[in-house]
């Protein structure tokens, strides 16, 4: 995470993007101890709101959420054509992606040329995008906006992320149902009462062995030590041991089933190789979260064929193309959606970069995607929100279409997944 540095360009000495008084910005991850708002273990583990079971039946669909942390510049990735491109070029004389270099896309948009590895999927209709998407109100703080996106429950004081609410609908959910790969720390979206698992690599999903170097003996030993502990911690330890036992065959074969060399070198290589192996193993995983950071391009965004943005997109596109290849037959049940906490300012700054902005693009790939075009409403660059691309659809509308399309069992539970939210129709899924 790289928080923004203030830019003194306006002479006020104030950091850019400070919300003004009228905005009345609310922080969405509220306190644990706000008045009577303490979440007790009992409240945290109240099963009453779990409504449906879509559990670990084999061959279930999987949604992979790739978080482009740092605020990706959607206007360099999914670039408007025509009059909007003229406006963009005027605002970004040093860094705009020239219209002539765009690939794929549709009549109104083209893709950054570094998306070339994914062009076959675009042309096949399994890679698409939604533009002018974001939070319901601008929030130009990395921290707050990320929390807002991942909690996705404005005004709630519970620390329950939207993915946790999704998997929590299934009373029989197991930790392997919702997995963060690449890090053992759960992102905000996974935090909550439903079981979830954060792990760097598949092979870490085992209990560390001791004498005899035997995982089964070790699980039995830990099970005996914790057998009489009737607390939520005790339950979680036992669930963890059960998960480790179920995944033992996958962990044992990790060296064979995880194929990092099939991916381009870079931060997504290991994590997507592990994600593919976990999905192919078909152990009941429904949601996977993956982080791909380094998008905070306040300076030196670069040119279409080289530099920061080109490198970032080249790796993203190459790694995702490799991922769908690596999935093999399992690709037919996997959908990828990208999300970032905010887009960037339309106007380039004095350092050939772009400061924090608002509206952004989301990318969708794989099963069920209505690809080959940019879906939803477009906000045009002659109608900006305080210098930023405005939004025409709430990010939750896109996520809800993905969930409802891939998990029909969940489609009746919008009020639990996104409380109080009325989604717009975007058309991101077919």
């Amino acid at each position: 995470m790289t928080p923004d540095l203030p830019t003194p360009a306006d002479g006020s000495g104030e950091s850019c993007g400070c919300p003004d008084f009228t905005l009345s910005r609310r922080r969405f991850l509220a306190t644990t101890v706000a008045g009577a708002g303490v979440l007790t273990a009992g409240q945290l583990f109240d099963d009453a709101w779990r409504q449906v079971a879509y559990g670990a039946a084999p061959g279930g669909n999987v949604v992979v959420v790739v978080s482009l942390r740092g605020g990706s510049d959607g206007l360099s990735m999914v670039v408007p054509r025509g009059a909007d491109h003229d406006l963009l070029a005027a605002a970004r004389p040093g860094i705009v992606v020239p219209e002539a270099t765009l690939i794929g896309g549709d009549t109104n948009f083209g893709l950054h040329p570094a998306f070339a590895p994914l062009l076959p999927m675009w042309n096949a209709g399994t890679f698409g995008a939604v533009h002018a998407v974001g939070l319901p109100a601008p929030n130009r703080s990395h921290f707050d906006a990320m929390i807002e996106v991942e909690d996705a429950d404005p005004g709630s004081s519970g620390r329950v992320g939207w993915i946790n609410r999704v998997v929590g609908l299934d009373a029989s959910a197991q930790p392997e149902g919702a997995v963060q790969l690449g890090s053992a720390l759960l992102p905000t979206s996974l935090v909550g009462p439903a079981p979830a698992l954060g792990v760097r690599r598949v092979q870490d999903l085992s209990v560390p062995t001791l004498a005899n170097d035997d995982a089964a003996i070790r699980r039995t030993s830990l099970g005996q030590m914790w057998a009489r502990t009737s607390t939520p911690l005790g339950s979680s330890v036992r669930a963890t041991l059960a998960t480790a036992e179920r995944l033992a065959p996958l962990v044992a074969s990790a060296d064979d089933v995880v194929h990092p060399t099939a991916y381009p070198a870079g931060p997504l290589r290991e994590v997507l190789a592990n994600t593919a192996a976990l999905i192919r193993a078909d152990v009941g995983t429904r949601m996977v979260t993956v982080d791909y950071g380094n998008w905070d391009m306040h300076n030196g965004l670069g040119q279409p064929d080289s530099g920061w943005m080109a490198d970032q997109v080249t790796h993203l596109a190459g790694a995702l193309a490799a991922f769908f290849t690596d999935l093999g037959a399992a690709a037919s049940r996997v959908t990828v959606v990208t999300i970032s906490e905010f887009g960037r300012r339309v106007q380039e700054n004095g350092d050939h970069g772009v400061d924090h902005g608002y509206g952004n693009a989301m990318l969708l790939l794989g099963a069920g995607v209505n690809g080959g075009g940019v879906r939803g409403q477009w906000a045009h660059l002659n109608d900006l929100n305080d210098g930023d691309l405005a939004i025409r659809q709430d990010f939750r509308s896109v996520l809800w279409e993905v969930l409802a399309s891939r998990f029909p069992e969940v489609s009746g539970s919008k009020a639990t997944v996104f409380p109080g939210f009325v989604p717009e129709t975007v058309g991101a899924m077919s």
């Binding site: 928080p3 540095l5 950091s15 400070c18 101890v33 008045g35 979440l39 053992a184 963890t240």
Partner: protein
């Protein structure tokens, strides 16, 4: 539990003393156990701890000399970053290390825990790039007032440049007030979100606070009160009113913060939060009321408030009710293993390398991005990933795999009883030194299973000295409910 008392040279503390040790220290050790015994029990040890200046702290004093960057002024930290000498993020890593070293080695354990408690309530993240230059100074301030009164803590924290830069009050002016700190002051630091204040109150709260400027890049690195930025005019927030007619609004701010510190809703929130951290996730209304009453009757003073909490019967009845957070666990594990850290010399030194170890395992001090601080309820800390991480940390530290430089590990012989002895006796003997008590029968059986031996087996010296034997016992104890709860 074995029927006979373990044949250990270290006395096992009585239940109450053990509970004070586990709740108000980084973890029980033989040294702490004897300090509590010498003090005349847990309650007496605790009341001595409330006056840290009177507690000799030889190792803590040594630790204070290990991280020279923490002696730099905010301006020096900024300048050294500009000169490419040392980034502020390096200083922040040192603050994290020094904090953990003190939690491991200081004799002033209650002070360390109260610094953690107030830092988490009046939270300024380790990772905030703007606040970073002032974060060490902020920590020093918290330490100074940690055992005095909440009124003093609140006055100094709210007007500190670290808080001002983190929550945008440093750039909030009468022309463009920023409501970030004004809101969190009410919601997080004092009365709480359901205290009945309005959006108008939030705006007024923000206006009172205008004037406390802190600049980083432009026009210069400076912190000062700027009357020309202060919003003047009558102010009303909840029951607080002030003419606020002076361009120097510091007196108005002080009056406002005092009002908030003494507000009954603040008393209830502080009381509840103390109880959640030190008693249980579900403190009774009676306990919270008792603690809140002590807080109000003593003008927000910390010491009588804490004493009211530990003197309530619910405190002693809550043994084992709290889950150790990953950082609690790391500190307690190093203490349980008797690892003595030395002055770091390079990145591989334990006191330096451990920052990455505990951070990757889930938690470094103050390293929570949002203004609400780390969660303090059990439910946040019991995920499968967290559990597997803790198991791995226990094994890595107990075997002395990494980090290991500039650290003295306890010799295995210091843990073992006279041999041969039954496995059960060996486990009990080791456990008293590692977790301060003999384990439950279930834990002993689990350890026997891990070793593949029966509890009645006679363990010879040769068997006990095999590579895996003793660490299997020690790691299992650390992986047990005895160690993962407090």
């Amino acid at each position: 539990m074995s029927p006979a008392a373990p044949a250990a040279s270290t006395a096992v503390l009585p239940r109450a003393g053990r509970h004070f040790a586990r709740r108000f220290s980084g973890g029980i050790t033989p040294t702490l156990a004897s300090q509590i015994t010498r003090a005349g029990g847990g309650r007496r040890w605790f009341s001595q701890q409330l006056y840290p200046a009177r507690v000799t702290d030889t190792k803590g004093d040594q630790v204070n000399t290990w991280f020279p960057s923490l002696k730099l002024t905010p301006a020096q930290i900024f300048q050294r970053e500009q000169d490419d000498v040392q980034g502020s993020w390096d200083v922040m890593a040192d603050l994290s290390r020094w904090t953990v070293c003190r939690r491991i080695h200081s004799t002033r354990q209650v002070q360390e825990l109260m610094v953690e408690f107030w830092s988490n309530l009046l939270h300024v993240p380790l990772g905030d790039d703007l606040a970073a230059y002032h974060r060490v100074s902020y920590d020093r301030m918290i330490r100074t007032y940690a055992l005095t009164s909440f009124e003093r803590l609140l006055l100094h924290a709210t007007t500190h440049p670290a808080m001002g830069l983190f929550l945008d009050n440093a750039t909030s002016s009468k022309q463009a007030p920023n409501e970030n700190l004004g809101r969190e002051l009410l919601e997080l630091h004092t009365v709480g979100v359901d205290a009945g204040y309005t959006e108008t109150d939030v705006k007024s709260s923000s206006r009172i606070l205008t004037g406390y400027r802190s600049d980083v890049w432009w026009p210069a690195f400076q912190t000062f009160y700027d009357p020309s930025w202060h919003w003047t005019g009558p102010i009303r927030v909840m029951g607080f009113q002030h003419a606020n007619s002076n361009a120097d609004g510091r007196a108005a701010t002080t009056a406002y913060l005092k009002y908030l510190a003494h507000h009954p809703a603040t008393a209830n929130r502080i009381a509840r939060r103390l109880c959640v951290r030190f008693v249980s996730d579900t403190p009774s209304a009676g306990l919270v009321a008792t603690v809140a009453r002590a807080y109000r009757r003593n003008n927000t003073a910390v010491r009588p408030t804490l004493l009211a909490m530990v003197d309530h019967p619910e405190f002693l009845a809550s043994a084992g009710a709290k889950v150790r957070t990953p950082l609690d666990d790391y500190v307690a594990t190093v203490r349980a293993l008797g690892i003595s850290l030395g002055k770091p010399v390079d990145g591989d030194s334990f006191a330096n390398a451990m920052h990455w170890h505990y951070r990757d395992a889930g938690q470094a001090p103050f390293d929570w991005p949002a203004p609400n601080g780390f969660p303090e309820v059990n439910g946040a800390w019991i995920s499968s990933g967290r559990i597997l991480n803790s198991l791995e940390v226990h094994r890595t530290l107990a075997f002395g795999w990494w980090p290991r430089d500039e650290a003295v590990f306890r010799k295995p012989a210091a843990l073992l009883p006279a041999l041969p002895a039954t496995l059960e006796a060996v486990i009990d003997h080791v456990a008293v030194k590692v977790i301060g008590q003999a384990p439950s029968a279930a834990v002993s059986q689990g350890i026997a299973t891990a070793l593949g031996w029966s509890l009645s087996r006679r363990v010879t010296a040769e068997e006990a000295q095999r590579y895996w034997t003793l660490p299997t016992i020690v790691v299992s104890l650390l992986d047990s409910p005895h160690h993962l709860t407090r």
